[in-house]
Structure formats: structure tokens, C-alpha cells
């Protein structure tokens, strides 16, 4: 029962945050200068009628919200307009139907463009995160247990180096090494123009394209996870209950698994959750280096093209990912630490 109340309260906060983000996001892009007729399509020969037609097509002829015609330049309008005829409520209404608008650049629905990009990013980020979480936790645990030995020193140095490497630089080096010596593909998700006899061959080709970006991502994140895990476990190992566990005659494995790991996972969950939310977008550098058609590359391109609907959609998606990741972290926390569920800190 307590758990359910806790869950509902968290869910309520998550929904409130999303509503706030939707509002902020909408007005952010209305305050920014430029619309598709003037900035998106840079053609001075466009007639006034044609410009007006483009604005109508994207719904920009309607008032932004009651009393405001446009926000940039600021132009006051009538206040008695039917709210449902304003851009804001049309936008919210479309959102409820799962529509995120139309890209200024491709004229395709933003939702389907983002959907494809998100899928690719999740493929890349997901694989890399799974590897780095598993190996980060194991390495950190071992390094802490063997602290101040050669094992610890090696793992520590490697992690510090991995964490400090600039992501794009590591990407370029791996791209060079992998393509030159291992013959791995350098660009995109699938080999262009390739005809696949069956789905297995396609999956293999996808896998080969995934190796280098996943490896880059794993190395970068693994270092961070290992370092955090190591220092947390070191803290935990100095706790009195670890001494109790040793005094009980438990084996090293039991002490690490049942006592150290469980307590050390608490801070890890926070870091991983925050990372997961952000890496949906944080793969920008890697996706750009490897031309991986994910969300990061989509954002990078949309910024260059001033494709506001696309950016607006991407921002919303990122915000929702971060909020969801945090929600999951909260729930995991309540499972891992019984004190939280009971409302204690």
C-alpha cells in the first residue's frame, strides 16, 4: 500500500514536469526569431502570397495564444479569440493525438522522423549502456576489494584515461583504426545499395556498423561508472556492517554480493538514470562522427536547418526521457533502499 502511494506520488510529479516542459518548449520556439517562410526557406524571390501560404500550411497565421498575435516580433492581438483557434491549444491538441507537427525541411511528420532516429539511438545507446553498466560495476567492485594493489591501480588508471578522452577524438581514432585494420564500415547504419538475401544478413550488416560507435560509447561511459562504483564500494567497505559480515565468517563473495553491492548500487542507480536520460541526446558527438542516423545526428542537422518543429519535438522527447529515467530511478531506489519507501530519508 505504501509502495503504491509512493508510486502514485512520483507519477504525479513526473506528469506535472512533462506539462511544464511542453509549455516552456512551445513558447521557447515562438520567442526565437524566424519562421519557415523567412528563415527556413531562404528564397528572396518568394512572393508575399506564397509566404502567406507557407505560414498557413504550418498554422503560423493563427494567433500564438489569446491577446498575442506573435511573440517575436511581439505583436498584440485580439483577446476574444476562441482558445481552440490559437497555436498553443492546436499544438497541445495535436500532441494528444501523437502529432508533433511537420518538419520545415523535409515536410514529413516530425513524429515519424523522431521515431526512426530514436530507434537507432536506443540501439546504440542501449547496447553501450548495458556493456558499461555491467563491466563498470564488476570492475569497480573488484578494484575496491583489491584496493591499493596492481589490479586496482591498472583499472583506476584505465578508467581515468577513458573518462578523460574527448569523445569525438576517441571516435575518430577508433574509426580510423577499425576501418583500416579491421575493415569495419565507417558510415551510417547499413551499407548503401546492398541487397540482403534474408533478414539475418541485414542484421549482420547492422551489427558490423554498430561495433565502432558502440565501442566508443562504452569506453567513455564505462570509465565513469567504474570510478563511481569503486569509490562508493570503498566507502561501503569501511562501514561497520561489513565488519559484522566478516565477523560472521561470511565468504568474500557473500560479503561483496549481499552486503557491499546492494548498498553501493544506490548512488549508481542515480548516475545511470541521469546518464540514460541525457544520452538519448548525448550521443550527438558519436553519431556525428559515425554518421549514425540517430537522435543526436537529427538534432545536429535540425539546428543547422533551423527546423523548429523537429527541434521542438526532439527537445520534448529528451525531456520526457530524462523525466522517465528519473522516475525509474526513484522506483528502483524504493526497491533497493527500504528506508525510502517508508518515507524516511
Amino acid at each position: 500500500m505504501k509502495r503504491l502511494t509512493y508510486l502514485l506520488r512520483r507519477l504525479q510529479w513526473a506528469l506535472l514536469s512533462i506539462l511544464f516542459v511542453i509549455t516552456l518548449n512551445f513558447f521557447l520556439f515562438r520567442v526565437l526569431p524566424g519562421d519557415p517562410a523567412r528563415a527556413g526557406i531562404r528564397d528572396p524571390r518568394l512572393t508575399a502570397q506564397a509566404q502567406q501560404a507557407i505560414r498557413e500550411r504550418f498554422g503560423l497565421d493563427k494567433p500564438v495564444i489569446n491577446c498575442f498575435e506573435t511573440l517575436n516580433p511581439l505583436k498584440l492581438g485580439k483577446c476574444g479569440v476562441n482558445p481552440l483557434e490559437t497555436q498553443f491549444f492546436i499544438y497541445v491538441g495535436n500532441l494528444l493525438r501523437g502529432e508533433l507537427g511537420t518538419s520545415y525541411h523535409t515536410n514529413r511528420p516530425v513524429s515519424s522522423m523522431l521515431g526512426e532516429a530514436l530507434l537507432n539511438t536506443v540501439l546504440l545507446v542501449g547496447a553501450a549502456q548495458v556493456f558499461s553498466i555491467v563491466f563498470g560495476i564488476i570492475l569497480g567492485l573488484v578494484a575496491a576489494w583489491k584496493s591499493h594493489t596492481a589490479v586496482d591501480f591498472t583499472a583506476l588508471t584505465a578508467s581515468l584515461v577513458a573518462w578523460s578522452l574527448p569523445t569525438f577524438w576517441l571516435g575518430i581514432v577508433l574509426l580510423f583504426a577499425g576501418s583500416t585494420w579491421l575493415g569495419l564500415p565507417v558510415v551510417g547504419k547499413l551499407t548503401p545499395g546492398m541487397a540482403y538475401p534474408h533478414w539475418g544478413a541485414k542484421a549482420a550488416d547492422l551489427g558490423r556498423h554498430l561495433i565502432l560507435p558502440t565501442l566508443t560509447f562504452t569506453i567513455v561511459v564505462l570509465g565513469e561508472y567504474m570510478l563511481v562504483m569503486r569509490s562508493t564500494v570503498l566507502d561501503v567497505l569501511s562501514e561497520d556492517y561489513i565488519l559484522t559480515a566478516k565477523a560472521k565468517g561470511l565468504s568474500t563473495f557473500q560479503i561483496l554480493k549481499d552486503h557491499a553491492l546492494r548498498n553501493a548500487l544506490l548512488p549508481m542507480v542515480t548516475i545511470v538514470a541521469l546518464n540514460l536520460g541525457f544520452t538519448v541526446a548525448g550521443a550527438i558527438q558519436i553519431e556525428t562522427v559515425f554518421s549514425w542516423p540517430g537522435l543526436g545526428l537529427a538534432i545536429f542537422d535540425a539546428v543547422g536547418r533551423r527546423d523548429y518543429p523537429m527541434l521542438q519535438g526532439a527537445f520534448l522527447l529528451i525531456a520526457v526521457s530524462v523525466i522517465t529515467a528519473n522516475l525509474i530511478a526513484d522506483l528502483l531506489y524504493s526497491y533497493l533502499d527500504p528506508r525510502i519507501q517508508a518515507g524516511q530519508s
Binding site: E239, Y241, T244, A247, G249, N263, D337, P338, R339
Partner: protein, 328 residues
């Protein structure tokens, strides 16, 4: 009256010396300590903070921190020297034969595991033939024994008060029916009423289970009340060691005498409390000669130059002081 203790010696410590490695040097924390623990005996270990009490206790179970080294001596238990055992053999002795409860129990229990799991893991670690259901039943039994209703077994440490948590710790310590229980300041963090309850519980269990207890404390009142023998430590060394009666009424070591004067005596409410001037020595700056000599009111020339040996006052009463030398 105090229950008569058995004659069989369970634990016998000889010449035990422990040091901590620091910046390439070995700082002596415990030096040349002797004591015997018989069946059913309660041994009080007293001394100021930092005199090596906890170090001594941890070294009995070989649980010293990484920097700790046992440099000399033997810890005889059940016909073998615990210091000769392999790490695996030692882990079997822990808790099954010698269990330990720690100061405050606040942090000695794992905050994220229910108490049942923490107790039953000890049971099943030392007896693989115990089924999960049997272990649960035993946990319930143990909790009832220390005065906690069995249905609280699924609760987490934070759901218990300080005193209750120490009871859980005691139940845990008794899980494998040990012969020796080391209680390192078990009541320090508790209020006076709860302290009394916990000590009473320890005594009651001692009588019921025939447990031998080493009670580490700096409360001389507690020692007088429940201990059979007393080991007074100063600066990592034995100051005086004897039965409780002789230590309280015929103390020979100036440190013991002063320690007793520094403690309120309810039969003489008008007597002034006397504090011992100065501070206990630091491990990295030990005085030459007797370690108590800089603070000792009876110190003479020789005390500052030579370290006194452990002299026998009479059978079962030893002290490390030149004043005792030759009095046999």
C-alpha cells in the same frame, strides 16, 4: 552472588602484540598481553579510549584493518592457535565459536536487509544442513529469547530503536551458539535505562547458555556489577589483571588506583572525584620506560628508563609496575 565459573579454560592469550603500519613504521598498539577466559566467565576489559581494547578484541578474531599486524603471541582456542589457521579455517571459527557485538549497533546492521536475512545468513553459513525454513524458525526463537516478538523478523534495522537494535545484534551473535561472546562497548550509545536492560540480558543469557563473555567498557560500575575478572589496559599494555574483588579492593597499580578514584563510589558520596592529569600516550610518541610514568604520582627514576615486566602479586593477580616487583 556471582555464578561459579567452570574450570575449563576456553581462550588463552599469551604475549599478544599488535601493531599498525604507518608510513613504513610499525606503531605498537597492543603489547605483550596475557589473559585466560574460562567457561561462563565474564571478563571486563577496561581502559581509556585509545588504549588498545578494540584492537585487542579485533585481533582475537583476526579482523584487524588492513594496516594492522599481529606481530607476536598466541591465541589458544580449542587446542589450536587461532593465529596459525588459514583464512578459510578462521572464517569457520568466527561466529560459530567466537561471536562479537559492536559498539552502538547503529551501523553494525546492514540498513537494506531485513533482520531475518542478516541472522539466518550466519546460521546457514556455519551449518549448510539447515534448511531455509529451519533457519527462519531459529531466527524467531532467537528474537524471542532477546525479548523481540518474532513477527518483527521481516523488519529493517531502521524500524528498531537503538536498544532493540542492540538486542537484534545479540540475537545475531547467539545464532550459532558460540562459546565466547565479545561485547565491545555494547551499551555506549544507549541511554541509561536501556544500558541496564541490555547488560541484564547479557547476564541472563550467560547463565542460561553458559557463555563466556569479554566485556569491553570504560564503565567501572558495570565491571564491578557483572564481571568475574578484570583486565586493566594502559597504552596497549596490561596494567593490572585479576579477579574483580582484588582489583577493586586491593589494586596495586597506580593507574588502577587512580582510575577507581576517578569513578563515583555510591557508598562514599562525599568523596571527591579525582581525575588523572595528562593524556594517554599516542602510539607514535610513546614515553620511554613505563608508559604510565609521565602521569604516575608514584613514579621514580627507574620508571622513566625501564619498562616494567608483568609481575605476579599473588596467584591470579598480575600487574606491570616496579612497585610490585619482589613482593611475591
Amino acid at each position: 552472588m556471582k555464578p561459579v565459573t567452570g574450570q575449563k579454560t576456553l581462550l588463552s592469550v599469551r604475549h599478544l602484540s599488535v601493531g599498525y603500519e604507518s608510513e613504513g613504521k610499525l606503531l605498537p598498539a597492543v603489547e605483550d598481553v596475557h589473559f585466560d577466559l574460562r567457561e561462563g566467565e565474564v571478563l571486563g576489559l577496561v581502559g581509556e579510549s585509545g588504549c588498545g581494547k578494540t584492537t585487542l578484541m579485533l585481533s582475537l578474531l583476526r579482523l584487524l584493518p588492513v594496516a594492522g599486524r599481529i606481530t607476536r603471541g598466541e591465541v589458544r582456542f580449542g587446542g589450536q592457535d587461532l593465529l596459525d589457521l588459514s583464512e578459510t579455517e578462521m572464517s569457520q571459527v568466527r561466529w560459530r565459536d567466537i561471536a562479537m557485538i559492536f559498539q552502538g549497533a547503529m551501523n553494525a546492521l546492514n540498513p537494506v536487509l531485513p533482520v531475518e536475512q542478516q541472522i539466518s545468513e550466519a546460521i546457514r553459513r556455519h551449518d549448510a544442513s539447515v534448511s531455509a525454513a529451519q533457519a527462519t524458525r531459529r531466527v524467531e526463537e532467537l528474537l524471542e529469547m532477546v525479548g523481540i516478538t518474532a513477527n518483527r523478523k521481516d523488519q529493517y534495522p531502521f524500524q528498531f530503536s537503538g536498544g532493540m537494535r542492540q538486542r537484534v545484534m545479540i540475537a545475531m551473535a547467539l545464532a550459532c551458539r558460540p562459546q565466547v561472546l565479545i561485547a565491545d562497548e555494547p551499551t555506549t550509545a544507549l541511554d541509561v535505562m536501556i544500558q541496564a536492560q541490555i547488560l541484564e540480558l547479557l547476564l541472563e543469557l550467560r547463565e542460561r547458555l553458559g557463555l563466556a563473555v569479554i566485556l569491553v567498557t570504560h564503565d567501572l560500575g558495570v565491571v564491578a556489577e557483572i564481571c568475574d575478572t578484570v583486565l586493566v589496559m594502559y597504552g596497549g599494555m596490561t596494567a593490572e589483571y585479576s579477579d574483580v574483588d582484588r582489583v577493586y579492593n586491593h589494586a596495586v597499580h597506580p593507574y588502577t588506583q587512580n582510575l577507581l578514584k576517578a569513578f563515583p563510589d555510591l557508598s562514599q558520596p562525599n568523596a571527591r572525584l579525582i581525575s588523572i592529569p595528562g593524556y594517554p600516550p599516542r602510539l607514535d610518541a610513546l614515553p620511554s620506560g613505563c608508559r604510565f610514568s609521565p602521569r604516575c604520582p608514584a613514579a621514580f627514576e627507574r620508571c622513566h628508563q625501564e619498562t616494567p615486566g608483568l609481575y605476579t602479586v599473588e596467584e591470579g593477580h598480575t600487574a606491570r609496575c616496579f612497585l610490585v616487583e619482589g613482593k611475591v
